[in-house]
Amino acid sequence: MQTMNESFAIEASGLIKRFGSFTAVDSLDLRVETGSVVSLLGPNGAGKTTTVRMLATLLRPDGGSARVAGFDVVSEAAQVRRVISLTGQFAALDPHLTARENLVLMGQLRGLHRRAARTTAEQLIARFDALEFAGRLVKTLSGGERRRIDLAAGLIERPQLLVLDEPTTGLDPRSRQVVWSTIRELVADGVTLLLTTQYLEEADALADRVVLIDHGREIAAGTPAELKATVGAQRIDVVAANAAAFGSLQLVLSERFEVTSVPERRTLSIPAPDESADLARVSAAIADSDVAVDEVALRRPTLDDAFIALTGRPAEPESDPELEEAAA
């Protein structure tokens, strides 16, 4: 079996995983070209983590098949584990060892001798700018520090496929920037990357191709630009000043325009193919109605619009990030 010249790092077809009566992944097809960055984007409970765990041989599919670098994830699981590196949503490190001890241990487990494992650990510590906390126990590190060590642990041997499951969930904005720039460096190095995320801007910023999933099914796929194009032209967002204003605004605007409503953000979104002319019309309608608004803005469509257009609801519900895990 060829491993280096596979044109697809991941080829999955009809993947199914059920937990009792709940179908977490429902006939999912997924192809990731070697050398590309693909993002699985979906809300909590969409089946992202379950999919990734099947690809990483941690879960056995109930149906369908998947090959990673040409190896079947069920019958050739050992080979898959040799070419893949998975960094999960929760730090996969020993909390009672220091960051450095963790990296050395992972290196030794991957077959490096102690000295080589130490050298590699030091290189990774330098690369991830972790020198100042490398000697601390992992349980005492901040979320961002832990995530960086976690990423480093996944890169002890250069994997053919790197899988990052929600790499920035729960991180503060600064740590998120650090993780993003690390990921960009890896991608520049030519690593094939499968990235799951519930953040649209993350998929937009990092991925060549985005696969939108919901309820374990693919609902759309394409480049970020293509997905945004499915929503059409520019849009106007109107943000109501308060909940009452949102209600009346919705009444007023939906009489005259084709309105998409995002109540969580008190936002009404209106397509604006005529751009500034549409903006003038919307502004006039608001002025007539005498409803208090915070913001009226013309903007380019985002992946969020694509998600709403395709599923009828926003992709980032304000919900508990543990939900998907509980479901899994």
């Binding site: 730090a91 490190l93 992972m106 487990l109």
Partner: protein, 260 residues
């Protein structure tokens, strides 16, 4: 094979290294047997009279047998704790034998229990326990203790993966192992017990552990059932049954384990 031995050794070192950083995890094998010894020797011991033997000589072998059985709870709680850590997922997704992850779990627990056993034996000797061991019996005893630890640790690792939480393991241990370990002729002779506990004790596996240790160290001979008149053989059989059932099931369970 050498890869298996190497990764098992590395992973065992990992658990042992973490121990001094979470000393509270050692309470069950260190402080708990000390409390039992002191309680029974100085609180209940004064009221218990076993003919023909000092209470120290009667009870310390009982505590040794009981400690072996308590290995199930200790290993179960530790395994349940460890399996919930994300790092296990990393190990499972790495190119190392899954058997080595679980073997390391057993080895780590084994070392903890050797420590606990050493504490029991040394404290017992200080407080007046006088074992009468020939060299052959000494070797036999060491072998039986090692086998018992191995078997009960595997059982604990299996149960630790089956329960939902470390607390659940503690609960099951308290409900099942605790009473069985008290009925096993550990602290009072089986022959004086009421009919029902006596019948249970006759076939309680922990009775075989206790009777074996007491036979070898004090030369006493228990009676009442086949396993009590042949405790060493019975103990070996019990241990082999436990390993034969628990080892393959634990491995299967680990491979299938869904929870993160």
């Amino acid at each position: 094979m050498t890869a298996y031995v190497r990764s098992t050794a590395l992973l065992t070192m990992r658990s042992l290294r973490a121990l001094p950083r979470v000393p509270e995890r050692l309470l069950d094998v260190t402080v708990q047997p000390i409390i039992f010894i002191v309680l029974f020797l100085y609180v209940f011991g004064a009221a218990i009279h076993v003919p023909g033997i000092s209470y120290e000589d009667y009870m310390i072998p009982g505590i040794i047998g009981q400690s072996l059985a308590f290995g199930v709870i200790g290993a179960g709680v530790a395994t349940s704790n460890d399996m919930n850590e994300g790092v296990i997922d990393r190990f499972r997704s790495m190119p190392i034998s899954r058997l080595s992850v679980i073997s390391a779990q057993v080895m780590g627990q084994f070392c903890e229990q050797i420590l606990g056993m050493a504490i029991v034996i040394v404290l017992g000797l200080i407080l007046g326990w006088t074992p009468h061991l020939t060299l052959v019996h000494g070797i036999e005893l060491a072998g039986l203790i090692a086998l018992g630890m191995f078997a009960f640790t595997w059982a604990g690792v299996l149960f630790g993966m089956m329960v939902r939480s470390p607390d659940a393991m503690q609960g099951v241990g308290f409900i099942v192992v605790f009473p069985l370990s008290f009925m096993a002729g550990t602290f009072v002779p089986i022959s004086n017990m009421d009919a029902v506990p006596r019948a249970i004790a006759h076939w309680d596996p922990i009775s075989a552990l206790v009777a074996s240790v007491r036979n070898l160290t004090q030369g006493t001979h228990a009676a009442g059932s086949w396993q009590l008149t042949h405790p060493e053989l019975a103990m070996v059989i019990w241990c082999l049954i436990l390993v034969g059932i628990c080892l393959p099931l634990a491995l299967r369970r680990f491979n299938r384990k869904l929870a993160m």
